[in-house]
Symmetry: C2
Subunit: 452 residues, 2 copies
């Protein structure tokens, strides 16, 4: 028979079993944390009508979309989880209770140029809180807590949540009479770290007709640094000149005020006036999260407050706040950096049961008892040499092997070998599942990520 | 702004939050059960190259496939999880340990005619055990145990696993010299329940040139009924006439022999000579699972033993055995039949925390303490009337509401209301998370499906 060469498309992550176990662990910590904060799971279709999915899209995004026809239907694969959420909330508005808090962890598709570490199919892990008409600022204050618990849950300590408020930025530029140019200015200011203040000033003055005095004000404003208290105090100096600015400052103050009650340590949180996130969409608090030892990765969890989730589908005013983690890329980076905790078991089972008798019933019954007790048990009955069996145990990384020979069966015991220590002991059959459960639980202690 | 009508494509299941919670519960029982048997999770791409995905496909399947081009690439969405597994094993052969046991629960795509209860995007939940060159019969004997634990784990009792062996069928037809016609014969015999034995005989004789004597033999064979012991005893009467038949009978005997050790009660298992499953692919044990009170649904979990998983990609002989649950359709049917256990909580949170003071810090700290303890807590801070807040609690179905007023804060307590009983009590702040955790765990006891 002629063969087709087996291959996986480039830009599509396909993990080996051990890596997949690590990925599953990371994914389930995200889901558990989101649930802890009262977010309900959603699972919308991967395929949507192009008309619905592209109601808003344009430019770069549209070019990347997987779009095709099937019969008479013009279809597209979702490129994020926000547009499907907007559709969902508009469509099911009457059946939902607001604020509506949902999480979704699902694959999205973007036909980007293939590149190392860039994926065309990747998981996003999103949470959003949607209000009906209005949404309390406390929801914005709660988001850093979700981010903090998510990342510490993964085992990360060296990260910082950077927060700003778009109203402060918009109000500030309005004070200077630069509302029109504010988009261009923010994009320029974003390059501060790369090109330095002189060049930023030159561009502002030469390209965007900002007066030298205003350019200096902008640089001074963006240069405000310090602890959260210091930054807020500096911002107070601008109060009273613009209503939007003052509102943004109040909101930022509220977010900072409740950090402690939300369990977020000060040093994991920084008010940072340089971050803006996409210019049109966000209208209040904006978030970025950086790994302190890997700033080159960029933000690993971003989002913000928006005013109109579903304006392309409904007249209802649906403000919201949300964040997204690019899970596939994050996992890729952590793996590349060697930060996955290799001490955690990645085997398909906690115990490999090796029958050593002709009648397999005792070994099967033992495996059944293990499973009843919640132990992940694998029976190995292939007629191989003993060495091949132990080699299999080694290669799969199973932590324990159970031997059941005539001797064991007659004495109602099982020989259990700890593959890490090499130690072997005989345990009463009835006690063995508990023995394994306890030790497996101990082996599974610890977070999936380990900082060096 | 002109609006696009929000809609979800027909044939795509999109659940409301409460249903989604039920679906997630069902899905996680499947995953947990599969893991219990030592299957490792896999997550292959939804998109594959058409050349790879369609190496084997043809006819009806090919017509249903979502196939499209992106740039120069001819792509297709997976239509099952078996072809991607075959590709995976062929591609990563050198990095896998055999027997390789994997489970995958993922969405697959088939552009079928839209019809009530038929889905174009649906979850399959598969397990497979792949051998390298050979695979022990015990793996086939283990599959009914996985099916049994999966369905009882879901809360079902009224189901039966029907098992046959293709070698018995092939051997039997070989005995009669009817190997050529065996496909046609099996398809005809399949209609026995619908059209009766006379019509079956007429078709066999008239259309497929089976002698009347052989037609009678076939009807007698297919008519073998009784307990597993009785059927096996009747089959022993045919022993010695065909090697393949004898081998199949030995295999079936082994599968039946170890049922008890695998924890499968006799009455949930039936040797049934009428089932065959797809004619070309399966070569040994075949499985179907029927809901006794809903035979109209057909098999809800099917599969079998095959000899060559990846023959389109590799010369390696990779025999295997696997089963698949059509999860989306199963969930749809259970829901339609009103079999979902409505007593289990479907709210996004275990407790809704309602602050009644201006300073929100005490309520936020309490929510944080709940989350630290593993309680799913939602803060509700929208400035609404008390009645609206309780209405929200009612609508989301949250089991407990926590009130924190001046009084409670001063006394270091929180008022906890059980929404089901209407009872309210004051609990010390430090004890409240434990109080909630215990009661939430109790509410979550029970299986997601309930038979009437």
């Amino acid at each position: 028979m002629q063969k087709v060469k087996a291959r996986t498309l480039s830009g599509f992550m396909e993990l080996l079993p051990r890596q997949q176990q690590q990925f599953e662990r990371v994914k389930s910590i995200l889901a558990d944390t989101y649930r802890r904060y009262g977010f309900t799971p959603l699972d919308t279709p991967v395929i949507e009508s192009s008309e619905v999915l592209l109601a808003k899209a344009g430019g770069e995004t549209e070019k990347q979309i997987y779009r095709f026809t099937k019969g008479d239907s013009d279809l597209a694969l979702r490129f994020d989880l926000t547009v499907p959420l907007a559709k969902y909330v508009a469509l099911h508005y009457n059946e939902l209770s607001f604020p509506f808090r949902r999480y979704q962890i699902g694959k999205v598709y973007r036909g980007e140029r293939a590149q190392r570490g860039r994926f065309r199919e990747f998981y996003q892990a999103d949470i959003d809180i949607i209000g009906d008409g209005r949404l309390d600022i406390i929801n914005e204050a709660e988001i850093p807590a979700v981010i903090y618990r998510t990342f510490t849950g993964l085992g990360l300590e060296r990260f910082r949540i950077r927060v700003n408020n778009r109203k402060i930025l918009n109000g500030f530029y309005a004070m200077l009479g630069l509302t029109e140019q504010s988009g261009d200015i923010m994009r320029t200011v974003d390059k501060l770290d790369k090109i330095g203040p002189e060049k930023v000033k030159a561009i502002l003055v030469d390209d965007f007709a900002v007066s030298p005095a205003n350019a200096d004000e902008i640089l001074a404003f963006i240069g405000i640094r310090g602890g959260n208290g210091e930054v807020l105090a500096a911002l107070e100096g601008y109060r009273g000149r613009n209503g939007t600015f003052d509102q943004g400052l109040d909101e930022l103050g509220t977010v900072v005020k409740y950090l402690g009650a939300f369990g977020v340590p000060e040093d994991h949180f920084a008010v940072d006036l340089t971050i803006a996130r996409g210019l049109d969409y966000y209208t209040g608090t904006v978030y970025e999260t950086v790994l302190l030892d890997h700033p080159e990765v960029g933000s690993v969890c971003s989002g913000g407050r928006y005013d109109n989730l579903a304006e392309y589908y409904t007249d209802k005013q649906l403000p919201g706040v949300g964040i997204s983690i690019g899970l596939t890329r994050l996992f890729y980076v952590l793996q590349e950096q060697g930060m996955l905790n290799e001490d955690l078991p990645t085997a398909p089972a906690d115990v490999l049961v090796l029958p050593m008798t002709d009648d397999l019933a005792p070994a099967i019954s033992f495996a059944t008892a293990c499973r009843d007790a919640g132990v992940r048990a694998q029976l190995y009955t292939e007629p191989k040499k003993f060495k091949a069996k132990m080699n299999y145990a080694d290669k799969t990384g199973v932590p324990f092997v159970a031997f059941l020979g005539e001797d064991e069966v007659q004495n109602g015991v099982v020989s259990l070998k700890d593959m890490a220590s090499g130690q072997q002991e005989k345990v009463a059959l009835a006690a063995a599942p508990g023995w394994l459960l306890e030790r497996s639980a101990a082996r599974n202690q610890g977070a999936p990520i380990r900082e060096k």
